[in-house]
Amino acid sequence: MSGAARVRRWLPETLTAIGLALGPFVLPMLGFAPDTASRILMWGLFGIGFDILFGYTGLLSFGQSAFFGTGGFAAAYLLTHGLTVSVLAAMAAGTVAAMVAGLVVGVIALRRTGIYFAMITVAIAQVFFFVENSPLSAWTGGENGIPGVPSPLFVLGSLRWPVQFGWSMFTFIGICFFVGLVIARTIVRSPVGAILVAIRDNPVRAQALGHSVGAYKLTAFVIASGYAGVAGGLLGVLQGYMPPDAFTFDTSGQLVMQTVIGGAGTLFGPLAGAAVWLYLRDFLQGPMQLGSAWRLVLGLVFVLLVCFLRRGLIGGIADLIALARRKRHVEAPEESAPVDFGSPTLASVGPAARRRTAGSHDGPILETRDLTRRYGGLVANRDIDFTVCEGELRGVIGPNGAGKTTFFKMLTCEVHPSSGRIFFHGQDITGYDVSRVCQLGLTKSYQINQLFARLTVRQNIEIAVLAERRGRFRLDLFRALHSVPGLAVQVQQTLALIGLSARADVPVSDLAYGEKRRLEIGLALATSPTLLLLDEPLAGMSPRERAETVHLLRTIRHGRTLIVVEHDMDALFELAERVTVLHEGRILAEGTPAEIQRSAMVQEAYLGGVAAA
């Protein structure tokens, strides 16, 4: 990394450090009391974890109070019952307790997504509150909370730093915040961080590219719990009192609102949100004399931000900076330029650095036996025996409703067959998870683009390459993304192969349709599959884009096995060596393009299909 880049990388941290160091001198002049300023930092730290969960991974949890309280009460209990005198040790123990709680809750809550996930987290947080309040009241003090939490005292040789209420408490929490921020920014810039963002954008595709989405979500959840635990411990230390309110739904709600006001997905958003929240609270109640109506004002602000500035205050500013920066760079072309695919030698080197599965297998690369899939009474596929040999380019056609899509989904294990078996390189993969199948070297490009829409082209490809480089799941939280061996090279090669090198840093949302289609194929290619399934790669393209894509398919077939579902018969018959015809969920015919074109059975099926439609 160059010096300038290094400076830029650490700029936010440096600015934060300077800001925190100046805080005790500047903030009083702005009218902030140390208590308020410390609380803002505490909420900011709490929010960093939540931002990783919500802003980066896209999981909206209303249950963070559970971990906030768990961490806080564990730390407070240890400190007030003389089990440890070290505040840091108690907070560490509280954090671990919160993370364990997060792990258990995550395993349950992450079984569902979206609104279910939100509702479950609400309910689980309630359970924590009631458990704290009733069965565990002997330890937590129930409704009373735990009073008398001591402040930290740091002794180094003859140096004593007693942290007391006031600006020294601010400094202590500031240091905690800074450490938390550095860790969070490291995580966000790690391969795991990149994958979390991908999961937020498109969990289905992240899974299909070979990432264990569930494990990564759980990671994010546990990280968020850890941050909540630290913040909870700080709350007790800050107030000298650990309140039962820490466990209530209000705490979670406030966290969510602060994060959204400040801007999710920025790490600094929660801090800004907390500052706005606490400052407005004091300002509206004090000078503005609004009494309890301050919550109304904050509620309205929140609704307005959700409606109009979804990325919050910091997000808005960050967008502005990004825009200003991009302005200086090349203006993006409005339309997709004609593609030069580069030299075929480079392309053929490509990401085809393929892996062989353990044990060489001489039979067909893919084989299905009696594959059947029922939906209730409806049979989508029935008794399909299908074999593809290594290096083949197989076409699959069939009229609408023939069961092509279900068949493809079963091959990549997105849908599990009702009966029958699937063998890949001779290995029985029936019932495997889609990400495992992808790791074995079998993946597919989708009929409808499944891209990571908020990322750039390069980032999209990186997500795919990471799966191949790192396996389904790896906890390299503190490794920089660009230090993953071979990542840059493979991304470059894939970009060259699909002809998007010049557009690498353009957000996917700005791509032309044809470019998106090529990226769609590129995503699948980047995982270095030995068997690539293409679901209608030419769908919806203009003639020129179609020609480009056909060219692309010709290029990538070198050294790979391809199965293509396509409606465009001309293109398919031109490309494929053999063609399989599906009809009413069964295999109707199989043969060379010429044989298929001649087959009366096939013609009848298509005509019949047309007549029926």
């Binding site: 009373n144 000298g240 309890s292 931000l305 500035l309």
Partner: protein, 584 residues
């Protein structure tokens, strides 16, 4: 809308509002001139276009959109703030809420020197601090610090306000003790600040308001040198040590966390020399610890738990009122005597320190009469519906129903118990009387019900100071004070006495004065603080509900049966594990 708002501002703040509105009218065009030009140059959009054109490609257009978005939101926030203030005013004027007025509203434009009488009818205050937040009623003779914050923030004169000349001058304290807590910063000027937080929302709001009235009446008397205060605190002339007492009010929602937050702010921002107020013992216990840590005197007002001066006692905290143990020792024998021996008892206990200690003390005391507990229903604070608990009690076969709930919880649970037919079969006992209970549930239910309480207004027939207090309170607030008001009043008065005797605000000296065990006159006769646990030794009042036809006037709900001297009812100071911390 804005003109309505301005009108409301003028109405509410008088001159202050006028200045504010002029500032607004002058400032608005300037802001518009400043923002319109660059906006127009940036892109070809009006605000209305922005939402339709979010998908626009051009970079400069996008930044224009983003800027306009930001400006919209920022302006929106400001506008909402202003119009919400106006709204509040309008609500009040429509008569939708009728909060009580503070007598003086200072002009907050420049330095808070000028004060004007609000142009409002009595009983109406433009802006009131009802609600659940952690508000500071700083409009009412707020301390210099918060007034400055008000000024700064309202007008945005940050630069002016930030100049060091405006910061409190700590040097030059009158006496020479080391700095501790808010000493000497809090008492350096010619006034001192007292933070009062009580529940003004939620289940304890009614006793909370009563308590606040008692506290503020006492401060008013203190600043005016009223004879009643001087009867309790003989060294008082006017104010405390010649300094005017100012105060801030806040809603602690009866939640410990909120209470700790608002009182922390009173201490750190307003340099409070004393903080007070509680209806929930959980709040009292939490603030006990806060006081000790911050080295600021804390005075709980209503707190019935043994723990407040027991295992959670604090060197910095002093309790006036009666509590679980004295209530049980006072009422228990009387119950056994009147209701008979070997009774089966059902308890309804709120789930926190107050409820648990009252239950434990009563169970212990009534054991002597062979009373047994058949069920103890522990219910959460502020439960809306008691049906499950009450069904268990109804089916428990108990003879006596001891309802420990407090505040609105007591009112609701007793009313619902009536609906579930419990009161026909079981004798209701209220071990720790809730202010206004009899008034809210009515004499039909309260007839013959035994209760222990702290103060009842008919004590004016026995104690001259009680009469003075009841008269002064009723004159100001138009109703008979309940015991929370009395406790609040007494706490302020006794604090003034301790400070006067200590001759300094330096907390350890004030504590010493408290601990000296000085006998004081009170509204319930002679009282004194026990130095070992900081509990006031004072009588417990045993009352019994009157039948409706026996009531002499609308407020005559109780017969005062006994005024039991407190000393014999109290446990040994260390029996509940009280260990006072160090005072420095």
């Amino acid at each position: 809308m804005s003109f309505l708002g301005i009108w409301a501002l003028v109405y509410g703040f008088g001159y202050d509002g006028l200045i504010c509105s002029i500032g607004f009218l002058v400032g608005w065009p300037i802001i518009m001139f400043l923002t319109a030009e660059p906006l127009r140059n940036l892109g070809r959009f009006t605000f209305a276009d922005v939402r339709q054109r979010v998908s626009a490609r051009s970079v400069s257009d996008r930044s224009a959109i983003m800027v306009s978005k930001l400006i919209t939101v920022v302006l929106g926030i400001v506008a909402i703030g202003v119009s919400a203030a106006a709204w509040r005013t309008r609500f009040v004027m429509l008569g939708l809420t009728l909060p009580q007025p503070p007598p003086i509203i200072p002009i907050r434009i420049l330095s808070g020197v000028v004060r004007v009488q609000p142009k409002l009818s009595p009983g109406v205050l433009p802006i009131e601090t009802l609600g659940n937040g952690n508000m500071i009623d700083s409009s009412f003779r707020g301390p210099p610090a918060s007034r400055r914050v008000a000024l700064r923030s309202a007008l945005g004169l940050a630069a002016v306000a930030a100049s060091p000349a405006l910061w409190p001058r700590i040097a030059g304290a009158a006496d020479s003790y080391p700095a501790l807590g808010t000493y000497p910063a809090g008492s350096a000027g010619d006034s001192v600040f007292v933070g009062i937080a009580a529940p003004r929302t939620g289940t304890y709001a009614v006793p909370g308001e009563d308590e606040i009235k008692g506290c503020t009446l006492a401060i008013e008397h203190l600043n005016g040198g009223d004879p009643l205060i001087r009867a309790i605190s003989p060294n008082t002339t006017k104010g405390v040590l010649g300094k005017e007492v100012k105060y801030g009010l806040a809603d602690n929602e009866a939640k410990p966390n909120t209470a700790v937050q608002v009182q922390s702010r009173f201490i750190s921002e307003s340099k409070a020399v004393m903080i007070m107020g509680s209806v929930s013992s959980a709040v009292a216990v939490a603030l006990n610890k806060l006081a000790e840590r911050q080295h600021v005197i804390y005075l709980p007002v209503i707190s019935g738990s043994n723990d407040t001066t027991g295992k959670d006692c604090s060197r910095y905290s002093f309790r006036e009122c009666f509590y679980a143990e004295t209530a049980a020792n006072g009422l228990g024998p009387l119950l056994i005597q009147n209701l008979g021996k070997n009774k089966k008892v059902a308890y309804l206990t709120p789930d926190y320190t107050y409820g648990h200690t009252v239950h434990a003390s009563f169970e212990q005391v009534t054991k002597a009469g062979g009373w047994t507990t058949v069920t103890n229903q522990v219910c959460p604070l502020g439960a809306p519906d008691y049906s499950s608990f009450l069904l268990n009690i109804a089916n428990s076969g108990a003879d006596v129903f001891i309802n420990i709930n407090f505040g609105n919880d007591a009112v609701q649970s007793i009313k619902q118990a009536q609906q579930f037919g419990i009161l026909q079969k079981q004798t209701l006992v209220v071990p720790y009387d809730t202010p206004f209970l009899a008034k809210e549930v009515g004499p039909a239910i309260m007839k013959g019900v035994y209760a222990a309480t702290d103060f009842w207004w008919t004590l004016q027939d026995r104690f001259p100071l009680a009469k003075q207090f009841v008269d002064a309170f009723e004159k100001k607030y138009n109703y008979k004070p309940e015991w929370g008001a009395n406790a609040g009043y007494m706490q302020v008065a006794m604090w003034a006495d301790a400070v006067e005797r200590a001759k300094t605000f330096y907390p350890p000296e004030v504590i010493k004065a408290y601990e000296a065990g000085q006998k004081l006159q009170s509204t319930v006769g002679e009282v004194y603080f026990r130095g070992a646990d900081h509990q006031l030794v004072r009588p417990v009042i045993i009352v019994r509900g009157k039948a409706e036809d026996a009531m002499k006037n609308a407020d005559d709900y109780y017969d005062v049966l006994e005024v039991l001297p407190g000393g014999p009812l109290m446990q040994a100071p260390d029996a509940f594990g009280c260990k006072l911390g160090a005072s420095t």
